[in-house]
Subunit: 745 residues, 2 copies
């Protein structure tokens, strides 16, 4: 036990390594699976090539961004005492690992897709095994890399700035270590935003384009090999729903842990780890979550063709969550001290707790974690209700489709807006509850707890696009229908789980933002952010507007790119004779190129808005106004995120319902009927909502908060005023440091 | 001058009376105009009957509400010292006058419509004169009643609570007078919300229903006498765009004045009116605005058929604004004192100004008013850009229509979301600017200044629906095409001005909310509303969600009612032979009944949400959380209001552009083409956005703020704790009061 106490900090990256090892093993298993016939492999090859082409183009642009940002961060790090140019280094590491996580996901997905198709020739159980294992590789890769990265860098910075200077684990030294570590999170979230937006635009432009011409005009089914946009559509599943999502969750995972660590520094804890238990706890919980995700994944299997895939996934998911929660209880009991805890910001100048301050115990911390899990679960259930086939909201959209396109749209928008009520009430209750149990630290650790089983969540989220691709390959290779039925089964389940995953993500974004908020306020040295002050309210308005312009840019990008796609497809049908008769091969590459160029070009503006706005507002108008801005972005972003994701999901399933036939006012309607056409319109409108704009909201929120946190020292007038004085101290401490090193040697 | 100084307070209602006198004169003129032939009058009769039927049904429901609310207010008024049961009385007066203003508007509109049609047989100039005079009657009625009501009640309560008790004009006595006066505003805004929502649902259900079947299915033009929904559609113009808008602006006008008066109480002013100049100023400015609206209206005329109606309206509008601004300068110079002013809340316990407090001069006050006018003007310009034919946003929607319904919708949503950027930046700048010049009082009076020329604004807004009705009557009576051309010309201009009017309304709602906010904070006795406190952030989230559920209820109500309308129209076409051949008369009344029932039923839930939420949150969670809620509602409501109104306006004009033909990629498209059909879908979706949900946002915001202000004394723990002590004081002061009366006699 003593060994564990002393060396826990070094064990954290070991959790990550375990994850990577399992990832490698499972990846090898997938690669060893049979890949099917030549035609299948040719198509899989096109898809893989298209995906790599996109990633390369994206990395080129992101490379410039990372260099510029790193230079700025390095400069920023030298000008305040509470930071260091090393932050540029941790930024680069974070950006690199986030991009790498996306790359790994895309590689495994483009291997798993065709192997899933091949497996679907055998049985549903085998298809599930291949696709889900592929998803697990993605999940373990993301979680493993995140824990290794964050854990290792923490060891490094903790040693550099706290241990080697003899600094206090609750004081300036630790604050500096965590500020530099925040660079890692900043790098991860920046790449996440570009990847999610870029990937999202790509996938929807191709999807919308392929649908509009294929289904509506040429009358050929989705994924028909004659549709020039079909390869781009399948590539899109990989770059958007896999690579983009991988970077997204990598960034979120890291951000929630970081926020908790920053607040944890403010807890003076007489624990067995030398006082850093509150800082280590989130990473330990994440490590446990990874281990139990591996365990839970082993429960995901079915036997018969008629077994429920959804149930299998749910069992795996619940097993991971419950096991993690139980293990967390014991870990909390062990790590945290027995006495009551509080945040140092609640002490007055004499070191006495201010009146009305919240004190909490380790049981309270566990209580907050439980609140987080309850909130996440409720969010998933609510999201499922609003987007599931056969439930009232989707049924209402179907009914509205009977009177035309416009009423379908009105119905979907109404469902989306209404679907914000319960999640927001749950979120508000969650904020109250987690705060009640353990104050701001409780809110932060509730969010971290929600994200603990990210590996499992990602496995569940990623297996859907793999199955979607597998179905596309089956269709294009004209395999027997039962193959397509099996992949469709998996795809449908994948859509539902994707929606619930988004619910989790937006809830954790809201809680994490409050934590980052609180951290920001502490570092910026402000006491109050009063909303009825004119300048703060102005900031609140501008912040609220940011998700609107962000969404506008995303969805109009999709609209424009889709139009270009439609026109290219129409051109090919016009100018290449014989496509419809299977006599000529469509020019798939041209469509891939359109999507690639459009998405790379269009992702820049939204990304820059997210990064630059906090900097401008913070430096010109000050930290209180920036606080107002962040609050505005958070509230507006959460609402828009829920609204758009749920509206999109509901429209999608309203359209899907026609595949089996729906009854409206006693009459049955199937595909190609007028109501179905109206529902296709709704689905097309919902696409950019649910796959581009909606899921980007939670990254937008966190990224702007992290940027604010990183620049906060510059905004702290106290820090700046005493910069000159601190330079003196720095010189002296450097001498001390030098002496120390000499002694050690 | 001395006379004016002493009796200015009594002169305020005189402004209102002048307005009423002019209203009566112009109304008589309109009534004297020729009404046309029997068929025209029959149709006008149906429309008038349908409108009255709606209003009667609405009043019945509102009657119950007013009684219940008055009882609650009376009870509330007895339980705190800072209020009085008389508040129930001023509430009833406010509700009554708001409803009466709507009624007056509807009466004059249903007289003006057919007389405008008759005038359009002669010339465009005559048609404009009749329709605009009708609008002026509406405007003067609303503004006149508001000023009479607010002014008279202020005289009454000022006398009762301040003069007769010898209380201070800046102290508790005046606070009580203004709290009771707030009941008037509460009554006005409550009725405004129900009227705008109910009327909005009515008009859009009928409009959508008539369009869907008429244009799309039966292929008959809008306003064809064979369309069973056409009468309901025309009634809708009256109950939604006239009566609903009348109540809306009545409520807003009063709310902005009240908010300024409440803050004005905190200015210790050594002026010539006994210290109440800051409290009187907003009403005086409103009075000036009314007078100069009358003047400006006289400039609105054209000569030739080809003269620009838009220019004529602009000249009248600008004349009113500029003359009011000039007069306001002199009034401010006269009324306000020469020394610097500040709010009493910025004094510390020793009566010394706290550090960093804002002091201002009367020139500063005028500066704030100018800022308000600049903000309003910029908002109008920006709104016009986003919704006008031939400009980039509308053109982009037209282009997107060429690839189908879905891309048209995506385009419109993107335009709507993008259109929030500039207005929000202008608003933020306006908040900063008006605050810089005169603090919170400046923000409030900037909003009041924006609303000063409400009479003119309303005249411009109301003439559009009158012209719309006139066109409908011309069509249904099958008058010669040049009659319809003239009314269409007026209608098109009316649509544009309606959009800009909404821009003004939402801007003033934002500023007024900040003022009401500030007033609320003062009355509730709280010092800080910190957004990074967990409970306040929870309130912020819930507040942000309210406009979403409100919009969902509004637009799904329209969707459901429109579906019922469509099914009824389809039924009539099926079951009544000969309609299309002009052989049978459609059953107009059935459609009118559907719209009436649906809108009355559906307006209740949104209205109750607006009223009850602040009460629940305030009493259960306390005033800080309620403050967070209000901030959330305001930011989210302003954004949703701008988004929805502009998206709806842009979709509308995208559709209208096809009437003259549009060029897309070198090809011309006209009505009935595929792109046009897609644009009809967008217009239909945008209808509930721009006429039901969008315009209700600003009332929602203000109403919730006023409710909070009214219940604030109950939430003030200081007030409640000393309630027992204050009962003692009350008894004693009552005795003093009695003695005073005896002495007077």
């Amino acid at each position: 036990m003593d060994f564990l106490n002393t060396y826990l900090i070094y064990l954290i990256p070991v959790f990550g390594l375990i994850g990577i090892l399992f990832m490698i093993t499972k990846s090898a298993w997938v690669t060893a699976q049979p890949t099917g016939d030549a035609s299948m492999n040719e198509l899989a090859g096109y898809i893989a090539d298209g995906a790599m082409a996109f990633l390369r183009a994206e990395w080129k642009v992101l490379g410039y961004f990372v260099v510029v940002a790193a230079i700025l961060l390095a400069w920023s790090g030298t000008t305040v005492e509470t930071s260091s140019p090393v932050i540029a280094g941790s930024f680069i590491v974070g950006a690199f690992l986030s991009a790498f996580a996306g790359y790994l996901g895309m590689r495994i997905a483009t291997k798993s897709n065709v192997r899933t198709t091949q497996a679907a020739k055998t049985s549903l159980a085998q298809a599930l095994k291949v696709s889900f294992t592929g998803g697990t590789v993605m999940g373990l890769g993301v979680a493993g890399l995140a824990i290794i990265g964050l854990g290792s860098l923490f060891i490094l910075f903790y040693t550099m700035y706290v241990v080697n200077t003899g600094g206090s684990v609750n004081g300036e030294a630790m604050a500096k270590a965590l500020d530099v570590l925040a660079g890692f999170s900043l790098g991860a979230e920046s790449i996440a935003l570009f990847a999610r937006v870029g990937g999202g635009i790509y996938t929807k432009a191709a999807d919308v384009g392929a649908d509009l011409v294929g289904k509506v005009e040429a009358g050929i089914p989705e994924d028909d090999v004659r549709n020039p946009a079909t390869i781009a559509d399948n590539v899109g599943d990989n770059v958007g729903d896999v690579a983009g999502m991988g970077a997204d969750l990598f960034g979120s995972y890291v951000a929630t842990m970081l926020a908790t660590m920053v607040l944890g520094r403010e807890i003076v804890s007489h624990d067995a780890m030398g006082g850093i238990a509150p800082v280590l706890l989130p990473m330990v919980i994440a490590g446990l979550g990874l281990i139990f995700s591996i365990v839970g994944a082993s429960f995901v299997k079915i036997k018969e063709e008629t077994d429920s895939v959804q149930n299998a996934l749910n069992i795996g998911n619940w097993a991971s969550i419950i096991l993690t929660a139980i293990a967390t209880y014991f870990v909390v009991q062990w790590m945290l001290p027995n006495d009551t805890m509080h945040l140092t910001r609640d002490l007055d100048a004499n070191g006495v707790l201010k009146e009305g301050s919240l004190v909490f115990t380790k049981n309270g911390v566990f209580g907050s974690i439980v609140v987080g899990l309850v909130v996440g679960t409720l969010m998933s259930i609510i999201t499922e209700y609003y987007t599931a086939m056969g439930k009232r909201p989707v049924l209402s959209i179907i009914k509205q489709s009977s009177t035309g396109h416009a009423t379908n749209i009105i119905g979907g928008l109404a469902v989306g807006m209404e679907s914000t009520v319960l999640p927001i009430l749950v979120l508000a209750a969650g904020i109250y509850g987690s705060y009640f149990f353990a104050g701001l630290y409780g809110v932060a650790i509730a969010a971290a707890g929600m994200m603990a089983t990210t590996a499992m969540q990602l496995a569940i989220d990623a297996f859907g696009p793999i199955a979607d691709n597998a179905g596309g390959i089956a269709e294009m290779s004209q395999l027997p229908p039962e193959v397509r039925h099996r992949t469709d089964n998996l795809d449908a389940v994948g859509n539902t789980t994707a929606a619930t995953g988004k619910g989790f993500a937006i809830a954790s974004a809201a809680l994490t933002s409050l934590a980052l908020f609180a951290a920001f306020v502490g570092v910026a040295g402000i006491e109050h952010i009063d909303i009825y002050k004119a300048n703060v309210l102005a900031g609140l308005f501008v912040g609220g507007m940011i998700p609107f312009i962000f969404s506008a840019l995303c969805i109009s990008a999709v609209g424009r790119a889709a139009m270009a796609m439609v026109e290219e497809v129409r051109r090919q049908f016009r100018e290449i004779p014989g496509i419809m008769e299977y006599k000529a091969r469509p020019e798939y590459e041209k469509c891939v190129e359109i999507s690639t160029k459009a998405s790379i070009r269009e992702m820049v503006a939204p990304g820059l808005i997210a990064l630059i706005t906090p900097i401008i507002v913070g430096f010109i108008f000050g930290p209180e106004v920036l606080g107002g801005l962040l609050a505005g972005v958070t509230v507006s972003g959460v609402l828009m995120g829920i609204f758009q994701s749920n509206a999109g999901g509901a429209w999608d399933n309203a359209k899907k319902s026609f595949e089996k036939g729906v009854e409206i006012n006693g009459e049955m309607f199937y595909k190609k009927s007028e109501p179905h056409k109206a529902s296709v319109t709704g689905d097309t409108v919902g696409d950019p909502f649910k796959d581009t704009s909606g899921p980007s909201m939670n990254i937008l929120i966190k990224l702007m908060s992290i940027v604010s946190l990183v620049i906060a020292p510059h905004l702290n007038s106290a820090v700046n005023n005493s910069a000159h004085l601190q330079k003196e101290i720095k010189v002296q401490s450097m001498n001390v440091h030098t002496i120390k090193i000499e002694k050690k040697v």
